[in-house]
């Protein structure tokens, strides 16, 4: 065998160590605790073939390790130690793990419901703590352990030196380990099931039957073993040394610091390159700083998945208990309005397949999601903004995370997908997520016979976002269980900061930390970052107040900013330590603080227009009682100022004036702010006004287009609005009796005609419309009466329904009449001609005049009419022509004109007559002598 590969060699080395360990454990009454943390380390596929040879030797130790695998974190260790040499070990191991598996969610469930049990549960689940406890118990055996450690070190040294000498003769080394017999073969009749065989020396050998499970387990344990080898990349003695160090530290901590019974179990590892945020990350549920109820509800939601994800029998029990506890929670959290619907659908999945955590950055949403998922026994798969999230990749990832589990690593825990920063994801991806989560539900109903389990989302997905109001999330909000993250309590944060600072040798006090946490708006991350600036040096309140580190541009909500403008914060006065000493200066400094805070929040919000509108519309409502008129007048003066400044900025694009705008808000704050809680409404008046204004403007536009041009030219918009329309509304009311139109007197007829003419001139009409209550009504169109009418003034008279009907009908008729070929047009033409004559009364007009006298017909009017034989006939023709079918006389000027000309001989030289395409249509008088 080739052992030249250093990695393999290393593994070998440690394997040996482990073996030694085991031997020693048996020597030392088997009471030495296992000291390694089931950390998730990198899993390697480095399962090389030569290890097969060794596997048998490793079996014992490895199985032990398997017992403490992360999945079953209960104390299996002692169990393992007892039947260490047993051959059934593998099977039992399996059972144990299984039973643990089964037991765990159940017991957690129990614990989960019972608030008192939380402690126990957490302790049990927290390996670090567990280790610590055990070590403590054994503290009287310290000397023994010390001996052990020494021995280990010695052995290790020995081994190393030996190994070095035998570096190349590894076969020897191998054979030396051969003494360790494999329990699968026995020469006497064993108790387990066997297969008899004869070996080459003709001796009976009993080979053990192994169940497939056992074999698999063996393999898996081997794979686990390789992992454990890697895990132990830190030498075991070092680990033990660290453990002792930790014990000591804990003692120190306990004596010195332990306040309020909160146990802090931070690893005190020497200065590493880790960020503080990472370093002091909570490792267990109890360490979480975020709001307890939020944590609890998320955990509860995750627990609802147990039924689908984990064993079914357990979930049966779970369901009952969960209902009971759900009720408890319901009672408890009802006031918080964050109740969780515990209903399970037919797939035994929770009603909400997705959980959406939202809240400002730095509150620990991601930490919570990871921790809770881990706590509930899931393997966390994270997807965040750094990943590619276009719909296709998103889909692949989503399916991979929810429908598969890791094959390579032996970590059989189910996945829990955490989609971080989902507010940045494209809409298509989110839509797909929603579809993925919800539509399966429907599919299941359809395909209830052909059970397609692969389609159902059976893994919990936790989404995290900062801004829940992002448009992309609108649909997600409806389908997901939305959990708003409340801000961390600054007291709790300050306590934690105190502890951390004590680890990091920062001298400080509680007040400072509280100030820090309020300054950063309870952002844990920025608190820690700020704190790390003061590493190894004392800080006090002044440092925090004066440093400009740590405060960030927090964008607040619109209403928060308005509230800040209208409300004087009491804390401003309370927090000021100098307020008692000197009244004036303290007032000054308080004002300064107030103004600064207002400026800051206004600047961070940015949209000054909207803010100012809100202030404008609310300032009168809020100051109804106690403010003087002078304040208001002054404030309004500032509004004018604000308006003028923005106008200048907008028109000249002179943004150097922009920084001055927030000072207007500071003034308004000074003028309007009270201690009372401001009831702020969203400013809608201005918007409504513009909407209405536009509506009226459109009506006016419509009206303008309707007015006939001869009148329109004399009017412009304002005149129509101010003069014409309001008065026309009074004029177009004819005084009519409601009788038939034929019975009207002449005056009434005139009135009606006049009204109709006016309305046509101005393009008005009454249009029949159905009211909301179903009755018909005639409405003026364009509805200019709306524009002209003011609320509270009922001066404009309204005509009765029949009058309107009458007018409407008459207008229609009149319009029809106007559309007929207008005879009056000819009339106006002649008028123009006449006018031209009068105007251009020059020599040229003479000839025209002469022509006019002769009544020359234009060529196009000429017709070849057969000459009538007698004048009497003409007369009779005339008589018949003038009467129509009913005997009514028709007065047609055209006909009469023709009649005038019909006797005339054509005077013009050239004329033409349409002759159905014949070329002789154009005729010319040609005299005979012209031809010669």
């Amino acid at each position: 065998m080739d052992y030249l590969d250093p990695e393999e060699e290393f593994e070998m080395m440690h394997a040996d160590e482990l073996e030694l360990m085991n031997e020693m454990e048996t020597d030392f009454e088997k009471d030495v605790p296992k000291i390694f943390t089931p950390k998730d380390s990198k899993r390697s596929l480095n399962f090389s073939s030569q290890e097969n040879d060794l596997s048998e030797q490793y079996l014992n130790s490895s199985s032990e390790l398997h017992g403490v695998s992360p999945l079953s974190q209960t104390s299996v260790v002692s169990f393992n130690l007892d039947d260490k040499d047993d051959n059934i070990e593998n099977e039992t191991q399996q059972i144990v793990t299984q039973s643990n598996d089964n037991k765990r969610p159940f017991c957690e469930q129990e614990l989960f419901g019972n608030i008192d049990d939380i402690d126990f549960e957490v302790e049990e689940l927290e390996p670090v703590l567990k280790r610590q406890k055990v070590v403590e118990q054994l503290s009287d055996k310290e000397i023994k352990q010390q001996d052990l450690i020494k021995q280990i070190i010695e052995e290790r040294q020995k081994f190393k030196s030996r190994k070095r000498t035998n570096f190349l003769s590894s076969i020897l080394y191998n054979s030396s380990n051969d003494t360790h017999s494999y329990q699968g073969i026995s020469r006497s009749v064993p108790s387990w099931s066997f297969f008899p065989a004869t070996d080459d020396e003709n001796q009976r050998v009993y080979i053990r039957f192994k169940s497939e499970d056992a074999v698999e387990n063996e393999i898996s344990s081997l794979s686990w073993h390789t992992k454990s080898v890697q895990l132990l990349s830190d030498p075991i003695d070092e680990l033990i040394a660290r453990a002792y160090e930790k014990i000591e530290n804990n003692e120190v901590m306990r004596s010195g610091l332990n306040e309020n019974g909160v146990n802090i179990n931070q690893n005190i590892i020497d200065n590493t390159a880790e960020l503080w945020v990472q370093k002091y990350k909570p490792n267990r549920y109890l360490d979480l700083l975020s709001d307890e109820s939020t944590n609890r509800i998320l955990l509860h939601w995750l627990k609802l998945w147990d039924k689908v994800v984990f064993n079914k029998e357990v979930s049966k029990k779970r369901k009952n208990t969960s209902d009971v506890h759900g009720n408890i929670f319901g009672n408890k959290f009802n006031k918080k309005n964050q109740t969780l619907d515990e209903e399970l659908d037919e797939n035994k999945c929770p009603k909400y397949k997705l959980a959406l955590l939202c809240g400002p950055p730095g509150l620990g949403k991601t930490t919570l999601a990871h921790l809770v998922a881990r706590q509930a026994g899931y393997n966390v798969v994270e997807m965040n903004a750094s990943d590619d999230r276009n719909p296709t990749t998103f889909k692949i990832k989503l399916e991979a995370a929810t429908q598969m589990s890791s094959v390579i690593s032996n970590d059989s825990r189910p996945n829990c997908l955490v989609i971080d920063e989902i507010d940045g994801a494209p809409v298509a991806s989110i839509d797909f997520l929603i579809k993925f989560a919800t539509e399966k539900h429907v599919d299941r109903k359809k395909k209830s016979k052909t059970v397609e389990k692969a389609l159902v989302l059976k893994r919990p997905i936790i989404c995290i976002c900062n801004d829940v109001y992002v448009p992309a999330l609108r649909n997600l909000k409806l389908t997901a269980f939305v959990l708003n993250f409340p801000p961390t309590s600054s007291v709790r944060l300050a306590e934690r900061l105190m502890e951390i600072s004590s680890y990091e040798n920062i001298k400080t006090d509680m007040g400072t930390m509280t100030a820090l946490s309020t300054k950063t708006n309870n952002d844990i991350r920025s608190c820690l970052s700020t704190l790390s600036c003061f590493k190894n040096q004392p800080i006090n309140l002044l440092h925090i107040k004066n440093s400009n580190i740590g405060s960030k541009d927090m964008q607040k909500g619109l209403f928060t900013v308005w509230q800040e403008i209208f409300q004087i914060k009491k804390s401003c006065y309370e927090n000021n330590p100098t307020s008692t000493s000197d009244g004036f200066s303290s007032h000054n400094s308080v004002m300064k603080d107030r103004i600064n805070s207002v400026l800051k929040s206004v600047q961070s919000y940015g949209d000054y227009e909207k803010l100012s509108q809100g202030v404008f519309e609310n300032c009168l409502n809020l100051n109804n009682k106690d403010s003087s008129l002078s304040n208001i007048a002054e404030g309004l003066e500032w509004f004018c100022n604000f308006d003028k400044t923005t106008r200048v900025i907008n028109t000249s694009q002179n943004y150097s004036l922009y920084p001055y705008l927030p000072y207007n808000f500071a003034t308004w704050h000074c003028l309007y702010a009270t201690f009372a809680w401001p009831k702020i409404t969203y400013p809608s008046a201005a918007y409504e006004a513009t909407v209405k204004k536009n509506k009226y403007k459109h009506i006016m536009d419509e009206l303008m287009t309707g007015i006939i041009p001869n009148i329109r030219t004399f009017l412009h918009r304002d005149q129509i609005l101010l003069d014409s329309m309001p008065l026309i509304m009074h004029i177009i009311i004819p005084n009519l009796r409601s009788i038939s139109i034929q019975l009207f007197t002449q005056k009434e007829k005139d009135d009606l005609a006049k009204v109709i003419n006016i309305m046509i001139d101005y393009g008005l009409n009454f249009i029949q419309e159905r009211d909301t209550d179903g009755s018909f009504n005639f409405v003026l169109h364009p509805c200019i009466d709306e524009v002209v009418k003011f609320p509270g003034l009922e001066t404009i008279p309204v005509s009765s329904y029949p009058t309107k009907q009458l007018i409407s009908r008459e207008i229609e008729l009149e319009n029809l009449r106007k559309r007929m070929p207008p005879a009056e047009l000819n009339y106006t033409n002649e008028m123009i001609d006449q006018f031209n004559e009068n105007e251009n009364n020059v020599s040229t007009s003479k000839s025209i005049k002469g022509a006019q006298k002769k009544q020359v017909t234009p060529n196009h009017l000429q017709r070849l009419i057969p000459k009538t034989v007698g004048s009497t006939k003409v007369g009779s023709f005339k008589a018949t022509k003038k009467k129509d079918f009913f005997g009514r006389e028709i007065d047609s000027p055209v006909v009469s004109k023709h009649r005038d000309f019909q006797d005339e001989i054509v005077k013009s030289d050239v004329w033409f007559h349409f002759k159905e395409g014949y070329s002789n249509a154009v005729r010319k008088l040609v005299l005979m002598n012209d031809l010669y």
Binding site: F616, L620, N621, N623, N624, L629, S630, I632, A633, L636, E637, F639, C640, F642, D643, K644, T646, R647, N650, A685, A689, K692, K693, Y696, M700, T705, P709, I711, R712, T713, F714, H716, R717, D718, Q719, L721, L722, D723, S724, P726, L727, I728, H730, I731, N735, A753, N757, I758, D761, V787, V788, F790, G792, L793, T795, I796, M831, I832, F835, E839
Partner: protein, 355 residues
């Protein structure tokens, strides 16, 4: 055209009812066959448009009165299309460029170029120029007016421009100097009463002197409004009564109501009520200068002499600031609040003086 205001409009310069001397000058001007660019200005209802149209009629004949509305399309540099309605005859085109808002410059430029670059077909029969009638020039932006000044001179050969404005204060001096400014003052009360009487006579109605006086006093020397009021009064009640109430436009009543509200009580709560009333006025499109004017008129009526000066000052201040600003409501309400402050202070002092 059966509305009296339209029906009795004079169509010839010879027939105008007042400012006859001016009419004579105009006739003289036109009889020479040519005229410079003109700038008519004067208050609403004074007869600017009537004179302009009469002038065009003497120039081109009654063909000018055959009007049609046309929609002209323009495109902004940012490729946004918009439409402007024009009224045009064969001889002239009338445009209100301020309808285009901030794009009025484009309208002015494009319009004049397109109109001015085409010559009249037979110039011996007609005039050799067309007329462009630009209304509401005082509402044009400065940019549009700047664009106008050069084109006015450039296309002098093919077109004349008649400008029409309410006041030349908003017209830049460059344009004022390029035009012959003709001021059309509002008719006097006597003019109005005489015109009303003429109309009544033509209609065969009896108009008592008192009523015509009341109308002329209530019409802001706006002849159109006077005639409309007369007609509205006639519809309301015909044989005229001496103490008959004249019909006043609704918005005017509303403004006086607002003023009453302001005077009744000076508290922030009242101010809130007044605000909603002011919003109503703005929504209905009443121009802010009109609001200021009538509000001031109503307020001053009920004020002590010593207060009047201050109130006129603040109202002019806030109207000015309104023109410099954007949000009308801020300025209007600031004016009202300031008035309330002054008024209540004055009332307190005078009360103290009594006791």
């Amino acid at each position: 055209m059966s509305l009296w205001a339209d029906k009795y409009r004079p169509h010839a310069l010879q027939k105008v009812d007042y400012h006859q001397d001016q009419a004579k000058h105009l006739i003289n001007l036109v009889n020479q066959g040519d005229f410079p660019h003109l700038l008519f200005y004067g208050p609403n209802g004074a007869g600017k448009k009537t004179r302009i149209l009469a002038l065009l009629r003497t120039l081109y004949g009654p063909g000018v009165e055959r009007l049609r509305t046309e929609h002209m399309n323009f495109m902004t540099p940012s490729n946004k299309k918009f439409e402007i309605m024009t009224v045009a005859s064969n001889y002239h085109i009338e445009v209100n460029a301020s309808d285009a808002g901030m794009y009025d410059r484009i309208v002015v430029m494009e319009l004049i170029k397109t109109v001015a670059q085409t010559h009249q077909l037979d110039s011996n029969k007609q005039r050799h120029f067309k007329v462009i009638l630009l209304t509401e020039v005082d509402r044009l932006t400065k940019e549009a007016q700047q664009a106008l000044r050069r084109t006015m001179e450039k296309y002098m050969a093919t077109c004349r421009i008649i400008l029409c404005a309410n006041s030349i204060a908003q017209v830049i001096p460059a344009i004022r100097s390029r035009c012959l400014a003709i001021r059309v003052p509002a008719p006097t009360h006597e003019d109005i009463t005489s015109i009303l009487k003429i109309i009544c006579k033509k209609e065969g109605l009896m108009l008592p002197d008192e009523l015509s006086l009341i109308i002329s006093q209530n019409c802001e020397r706006n002849l159109r409004r006077a005639i409309l009021m007369l007609e509205a009064s006639k519809v309301k009640q015909y044989p005229f009564d001496i103490n008959q109430s004249v019909v006043v436009p609704d918005w005017q009543l509303y403004i006086s109501d607002t003023a009453k509200q302001i005077l009744s009580q000076q508290t922030p709560g009242k101010l809130l009520e007044v605000r909603s009333m002011l919003y109503e006025l703005i929504v209905h499109g009443i121009p802010t200068n009109v609001i200021f004017k009538f509000l001031l008129k109503e307020l001053v009526k009920n004020c002590d002499m010593s207060l009047k000066h201050d109130i006129v000052e603040i109202s002019s201040y806030y109207e000015h600031s309104l023109l410099k600003g954007n949000k009308t409501m801020f300025h209007l309400e600031a004016f009202v609040a300031k008035f309330m402050l002054l008024y209540s202070k004055f009332m307190e002092e005078s009360l103290n003086g009594i006791f």
